[in-house]
Symmetry: C2
Subunit: 354 residues, 2 copies
């Protein structure tokens, strides 16, 4: 004999996901109407819309993104390609992008290239089919191999790219301020410790320094390093000392810290003997001793702008400007140093704070 039991509990296993059909049934309308009510509410009678909304609410309906993608081709995803998410400078841009994207119900697919230019192209290819477009930060190569993006729109941060939107962080005005600051403190020489030559930002900063130095009456010397890192800057310290300069500007804060560490090791004090300026204003810059004079770049705004450009708002290229942040790694020229030229190890002189 066959026994039929009434099942009182919900069936086990993953419950079938509620679809637009369930909503339609409950709201007593056609599925297509539900779809309309959700995507173009204005094309539906107010009363109907309310019924649909209520049904959606009650059933906890969430549209199936995959199905939507199949029909529309739009994924609701945005790929963010970043050289190094470990760097707080990029971290804060990514954070801003993600927040802004979320407000538009866009999801962020993250790809970190580990500073390897080739990876940019690879990950772009891998992601191209699953996103509506790209935000590419400080591209080193992708801007030349655009076909990797497929037909997707892209916003480039820290590099202008023909035919694409971009967000540029400009430093000229802030650099101008910084050099005046140094000049006021009596400095007449400046070393710029450069970043990677393939980086647009490095070029922009270098150019800003060059352009500004003349009018301010300052002699500039460029010193290159193999990489924009703490270590490379640390190692470049002997060359810095040889130059006899009293002031130095580094491509980024990490490098500024590398210089300071290298100088400290040789008994040269900052800002007592040499003034140092960084770039970016990463959070750590305010936390070290001496707190780092630097040029802050508006990374949050850059992230927001990138998403807005992505959505077609705003101008096709957005320029944002850095601001000069004087702290304690810059100070007056001391006679000793100004007249010293090259310089060897020497006992610390107090560090200029207290």
């Amino acid at each position: 004999m066959l026994v039929v039991r009434r099942v009182t509990s919900v069936p086990v296993g993953t419950p079938r996901r509620v679809t637009i059909l369930d909503v339609a049934a409950r709201a007593k309308v056609h599925p297509a109407t539900v779809s309309r009510a959700l995507t173009r509410p204005e094309k539906v009678a107010p009363a109907t819309r309310v019924r649909v909304e209520r049904a959606v609410e009650q059933l906890g309906f969430v549209p199936n993104r995959a199905a939507r993608v199949m029909k529309t081709g739009r994924t609701g995803n945005i790929a963010v390609i970043v050289p190094d998410i470990t760097n707080p400078y990029f971290g804060s841009m990514v954070r801003a992008v993600e927040r802004t994207a979320r407000e538009s119900e866009l999801q962020v697919l993250l790809a970190d290239t580990g500073e390897h230019p080739r990876e940019e192209v690879k990950v772009a290819r891998a992601l191209a089919h699953d996103v509506d477009g790209f935000v590419v930060m400080s591209p080193r190569r992708l801007h030349r191999e655009l076909e990797a993006l497929g037909s997707m729109p892209a916003v480039f941060v820290q590099r202008p790219v023909r035919g694409h939107a971009s967000v540029l962080l400009r430093s000229a005005p802030a650099v101008h301020e910084a050099l005046i600051h140094l000049a006021t403190l009596g400095h007449r020489d400046l070393v710029f410790l450069g970043g990677p030559t393939s980086s647009w930002a490095a070029g922009e900063r270098r150019a800003a320094v060059r352009k500004t130095s003349g009018p301010v009456g300052m002699q500039v010397r460029m010193i290159d390093t193999p990489a924009p890192t703490f270590e490379a800057a640390f190692d470049a310290v002997p060359r810095v000392l040889d130059s006899g300069t009293t002031a130095l500007m580094a491509f980024n804060d990490q490098m500024a810290l590398g210089v300071i560490a290298g100088l400290a090791r040789l008994g040269v004090s900052v800002p007592g003997d040499i003034s140092v300026i960084g770039f970016d204003d990463v959070p750590m810059a305010a936390m070290v001793a001496p707190p780092l004079t630097t040029i802050r770049l508006p990374t949050d705004e850059a992230g927001v702008a990138a998403v807005e450009l992505f959505q077609g708002e705003g101008t096709p290229t957005t320029e944002l400007f850095g601001t000069f942040v004087p702290r304690e790694s810059t100070g007056k020229v001391t006679k000793r140093r100004a007249s010293a030229g090259a310089n060897g190890a020497r006992p610390p002189s107090g560090g200029g704070r207290g």
Copy 2:
């Protein structure tokens, strides 16, 4: 008259994406066979498989993820929920997750909660339908509101959660080493400057310190701060000085730097007067002056382990161990300080390097 021109160039506009049908046609097999050749090659005759593979190659076919999702329910996406991507500690975990995921053709959807516990739940809900599972870093709330994850698998980093996989970074052995290091330098007192009470990691570190201090013959005092930040630590400095301690361990490197900065402001030198130990070993820890003695947590391994657990490899909970990294922010107890007790401003004593 109708003129028909031969079109030699590719049609303009977005070319239709190549589908499995195109591949099938080219390989002269049924579309279903193509699908099989791609997903379960062993179920297809070698010769056929080769033909299919060649066609795929020639046409540059990439399977449509959305279509696949519709059939299988698997998205190939993994959500990573992180409190603050700006913190290099999380940054490096995320980097490791992303890399490891990519090797398995998983894509990473990033969500940053900005340290707001509620956001964890919100973003989990928002993402649940579009991912195969979650990696949640240092959860503050989501571990209690698991229903937000839907039926997805999840790996929790820095918190054990019943029924879920987790990756735990344990510090006890490293803390033991650190305290022995301090004891050897003559320290008999230690302040632990705590992190957020709702953080599992903070509890674990506190417990490790408590447990180890006795056997090492060290007196421990806990000082709490409102947040695990540089600023909070900076502000806690007077309390630290009141305690009369000669050594301090902070919940993380940022806090350690905050303490050092606060001490410097009052003319107290590190490690001359007080030894300071951090936690995490963020890159910056090695770059400051004095370089920070700290406990390194294997964030990269944690990220890799998280993805492996996610894929069902490895044990359901993975424990990884921190290592003690002595640098220059710890030093011998000076008699002056050891007998001083509470302490006011005083001129710097040289900083202990050079």
